[in-house]
Amino acid sequence: MTMTENFLDLDGVESSDIKIVFSGPVGAGKSQAIRTVSDIEVVQTDVVATDEVQDSKETTTVAMDYGELQLDADTTLALYGTPGQERFRFMWDILIKGALGVVLMVDDSAPDPLGDLETYLQNFSHHIAQSTAVVGVTHTDVAASSGMEKYYEYMEQKGYFFPIYPIDARKAEDVNLLLQSLTAMLEIGG
């Protein structure tokens, strides 16, 4: 190898890993989704919840989740999950760096799921504009749900043309559907 070939790209190291970030509000199922599809034991930073979150679950993510999914012999999806609470917004900004796609997850049983979706779409808008996103709506079976129609209408009104699916974060086929949609859009350039 000549010296001219032997260089470090200071804009980022070449890698066949595709970084995907799962984000969304507390309880939307981000950690569960990564656990469901990861090929490796998921790196978690869960701690006991001391606030109202403990009404719905005992622990909460405070830094990140990390899992991996081998797509083929050469390509691995690196799956990062953000904390849900806005006080951890600094982690969102750290984790989104270098991500090629965003999986936004929304809990349909939350008081204002469309408001939650708006918050996260706004927060990641700059990044999404340069890459792409998919939306997974969870807990559609337990909510007094008015169905998916409101999400489709909202996305159309706002001019967001991302796939949006009702999913169960515990089902590999559902989480894989999100990831396949995302990677397909990456292949065709968003």
């Binding site: 790196v43 701690v47 006991v48 001391t50 606030d51 405070v62 830094a63 006080r87 600094f90």
Partner: protein, 132 residues
């Protein structure tokens, strides 16, 4: 599980922070935060917004625990950030609290480590006494 309000937790915690900072002038700020990122109590020589640091403290402590577990190295004692202008130490108080201590003094790391250890033990003792 005994439940304390944030105000009650702050009342138990604040005297330990004041006492430590009275004794060690090299320490510039101390915070006690919940493991999930809520501010419980703080004391600092120069008023600065510390809410974000409270959340960062819980994230960093948790990452320290995660790295320690990954390497099978027992329990994480401290996470230390060494900067051009000082040091920041994060350490567990008990299962639900994390102590964050800051010094801007050159060579202040030793004091920061020992003072934050004894302060964390005192806060933990106060909590145990209240709960038992």
């Amino acid at each position: 599980m005994t439940k304390l309000s944030v105000e009650q937790a702050a009342e138990i915690t604040r005297p330990c922070l004041l006492e430590t900072m009275d004794r060690y002038s090299a320490i510039d700020a101390m915070l006690v935060v919940s493991v999930d990122g809520h501010m419980i109590a703080n004391h600092m020589r120069e008023e600065k917004p510390m809410r974000r640091l409270a959340s960062m403290g819980s994230s960093l402590m948790s990452l320290g625990d995660t790295v320690t577990e990954e390497l099978n190295m027992g329990a994480c004692k401290n996470v230390v950030i060494e900067n051009d202008l000082g040091h920041v130490v994060f350490r567990h108080v008990n299962k639900i609290l994390v102590l964050v201590a800051v010094t801007q003094s050159p060579g202040g790391l030793g004091i920061l480590l020992s003072a934050s250890k004894s302060c964390a033990e005192n806060v933990a003792k106060n909590f145990s006494a209240l709960i038992s």
